[in-house]
């Protein structure tokens, strides 16, 4: 058992995946000598060589477009997008090619591509470095989308994502890169596409993923002091959604709050609210409430703490839910 950061969890997972399968390659800007701007690929080029850890030209569409061709030669590219705001130049290749080729070829072509995206705000960065674009991908048939929230999941989920034969957008909560946890490499991980109850409770269910899981857990702890019992679920998988534990919890508590950094309108919260309401209509004491970023572009970092959902805004929603 060793304590590792979330960033280190991804690094170790990448290393394990590359050792396990020689077809696994890493592509991205500055992933080689520099080890990535977050050092997540640190040391990998040194150990696996320039053929497997590729410093690419500065073109995201090129990264995803060539990854498609590499898949056709049996490779399993792990593509790093340096920051969330820079995935859009590759959007066409992702949505029209990566996501559709399995379908278009009736399964003759598989696209085992992992697109790693450090996402979300809270690190005081300049514009385009704090986006939460997950809904753009979760709305796209043919892609799968997951988000890790802690070092241990980071370690296991990245390996599971690389081993999977479908294209997966892998979101890493950059503001949590330096959070630590104990990793036991012997334990058997949960399946990749499963959500997990991280704190049990009976009054209100709070759903979160990525960076907001910690916030939700902190909110639950604070609420406990006021005698409110909050159940927190880490969604982990955003497409497909694993609604089973969510519905169970919703039927138990009758009150659901969804939290994410992305703007509320058409964020993941909208889909979850629609599904929970349909599935648990007669069990709900209150409408599913959504806590998220406002429907504005990400603001200058000096006020990002106002923009981002925090403990208080989660508790505020919990209170509003309980008020029904």
């Amino acid at each position: 058992m060793t304590a590792i950061t979330l960033a280190k969890g991804v690094t170790m997972g990448l290393r394990a995946a590359m050792e396990a399968d020689p077809k696994v390659i890493i592509m991205g800007e500055d992933v080689g000598k520099l080890g990535g701007v977050f050092r997540v690929t640190d040391g990998l080029q040194k150990d696996f060589g320039e053929d497997r850890v590729i410093d690419t030209p500065l073109s995201e569409s090129g990264i995803l477009g060539t990854a498609v061709g590499l898949c056709m030669r049996g490779y399993r590219p792990v593509c790093e997008i340096q920051f969330d705001g820079f995935v859009y130049p590759a959007y066409d290749q992702i949505v029209s090619q990566v996501a559709k080729l399995h379908f278009r070829s009736q399964g003759r072509l598989t696209m085992p591509i992992v697109i790693r995206i450090p996402f979300g705000g809270g690190i005081g960065a300049v514009e385009h470095h704090s986006e939460s674009p997950e809904a753009y991908f979760a709305h796209t048939a043919g892609l799968k989308v997951v988000a890790c929230s802690n070092p241990v999941d980071a370690y296991w989920m990245i390996q599971q994502a690389i081993a999977a034969d479908d294209p997966i957008v892998f979101f890493e909560p950059k503001r949590r890169y330096w959070e630590k946890a104990e990793l036991d490499e012997q334990t058997v991980p949960d399946p990749l596409f499963s959500s997990r109850v991280v704190r049990e409770g009976s009054d209100v269910t709070v759903l979160a993923y990525g960076p907001m899981v910690k916030t939700a857990v902190q909110a639950a702890a604070a609420a406990a002091e006021d005698g409110q019992s909050i159940e927190v679920i880490d969604l982990r998988t955003l497409s497909p959604l694993d609604m089973v534990p969510v519905h169970e919890s919703a039927k138990k508590t009758g009150r659901v709050v969804v939290v994410h950094e992305a703007p509320v309108t058409l964020g993941l919260g909208s889909e979850i609210a629609a599904r929970v309401t349909e599935e648990c209509f007669y069990s709900l004491e209150a409408p599913v409430l959504r806590v998220g970023g406002f429907d504005t572009p990400y603001p200058p970092s000096r006020i990002e703490e106002d923009y981002l959902p925090d403990l208080d805004r989660v508790l505020d929603a919990v209170d509003r839910s309980l008020a029904y």
Partner: protein, 378 residues
């Protein structure tokens, strides 16, 4: 041959067979095969054109939703397609019916996409021929990535002719304006990838003339990216073969990418949905008719007495048979089972999709539609 000399010499069109069917010499390129190969090319050209005519007819009769005709571009496609080795891989647009023919794709399979029963039913990896790509330019990056895979697989520059492999990416003149295509040039150049960028400059991107995409000859685009560009008479099957063969060999040897501009003309409409009379004059058409890619080969073969009339008749007959088979096969193409689409989205399907499939099956069943067993049975 691919040295900086091209920077100037490339300005002239590389031609080995004149529109009149005369063989001519070129300082850098010569056709490496014998008359028997040309006899085979003639068959390829005729069969390809017949596939195209029949498909166009099928569309007119409502059997296809749309068809993209290659009329006029047969030599560019056969000449390049026949330069490929079994192990090579081709990335087509939506118009490479002649290349598909060279890759032994059953022409009937080309109709699926245009009839709306599938999006390509051949196995790209087995055929060495990817599915048609409709999003302009996207396939040039796929080709470059595939070529990077070849480098990693050690099948470049080994000297073993059955091992060394090259990739060819097809695209049009309009595609050269897409960011993806230019990025592909950069990646291929930087990584010295074994890929041939084969541009059929048919002078038009739907209604837009080549001037809307470039002010200078397209083949010169490559010079700015650090690899050679050549312009070949796209209606001269011998020249196209010679140039593509050399470019592919260069790639297989590990000498990197080449840009081949096949200078040709789109004799038909952009697709069967298009009306060229709105934007171009017929005089151009007349001018290009005289450069027909098939006529010049026929002229060469008959003048030289390489083959007799029986041969030509034989080919016609074979083409008639193919056309008949195409027509019959097209009409018999079964519609897909709507319940199959759910299982084709992912390699490992999801509970959500299973639920949607089952729900839809039940819904269809309530109208007496295809039951789920059927779908699963397929």
């Amino acid at each position: 041959m691919f040295g900086p000399g091209q920077e100037h010499g490339g300005a002239d069109l590389i031609q080995l067979l004149t529109p009149e069917g005369e063989r001519v010499e070129h300082p850098d390129f010569s056709f490496g095969l014998g008359d028997d190969a040309i006899v085979g090319f003639y068959r390829d050209l005729v069969m390809t054109r017949r596939i195209d005519t029949e498909a166009t007819a099928l569309q007119r009769q409502g059997e296809l939703g749309i068809w993209a005709s290659l009329l006029g571009q047969e030599a560019a496609q056969i000449g390049s397609g026949r330069a490929l080795r079994d192990q090579d891989f081709a990335f087509p647009t939506y118009r490479e019916h002649g290349v598909a023919w060279c890759r032994d794709i059953d022409p009937l399979q080309l109709l699926g996409l245009f009839r709306g029963v599938d999006q390509g039913s051949w196995d790209p990896l087995e055929a060495g021929f990817n599915l048609y790509t409709i999003v302009i330019g996207a396939q040039t990056l796929h080709a470059t990535g595939y070529a990077m895979g070849l480098q990693r697989d050690g099948v470049i520059g080994t000297g073993d002719p059955d091992r060394d492999t090259a990739v060819i990416a097809y695209f049009g003149d309009g595609a050269t304006s897409q960011g993806d295509v230019n990025e592909a040039f950069i990646w291929a150049s930087v990584f010295n990838a074994p890929v041939v960028f084969f541009c059929q400059n048919n002078q038009w991107a739907i209604s837009e003339p080549i001037e809307r995409q470039s002010k200078i000859p397209l083949y010169q685009r490559a010079l700015g990216f650090g690899f050679p560009g050549l312009r070949v008479d796209g209606n001269d099957v011998l020249a196209v073969h010679a140039v593509t063969d050399a470019a592919l060999q260069r790639a297989r040897e590990g000498s990197g990418p080449t840009f081949v501009e096949a200078y040709t003309y789109r004799m038909g409409a952009h697709t069967t949905s298009d009306d060229p009379t709105r934007y171009r004059v017929t005089s151009d058409l007349e001018h290009w008719k005289l450069k027909d890619p098939i006529e010049r080969v026929r002229a060469y073969l008959s003048r030289g007495g390489v083959v007799d009339d029986d041969y030509f008749h034989g080919i016609e007959a074979e083409a008639d048979e193919l056309a008949a088979r195409l027509r019959k096969g097209c009409l018999e193409m079964p519609d897909p089972n709507p319940l199959d689409i759910f299982d084709q989205v992912y390699e490992e399907t999801t509970p959500e999709l299973r639920e949607q499939r089952d729900g839809f099956a039940a819904y269809l069943a309530s109208f007496g539609g295809p039951a789920l067993q059927e779908a699963d049975a397929q």
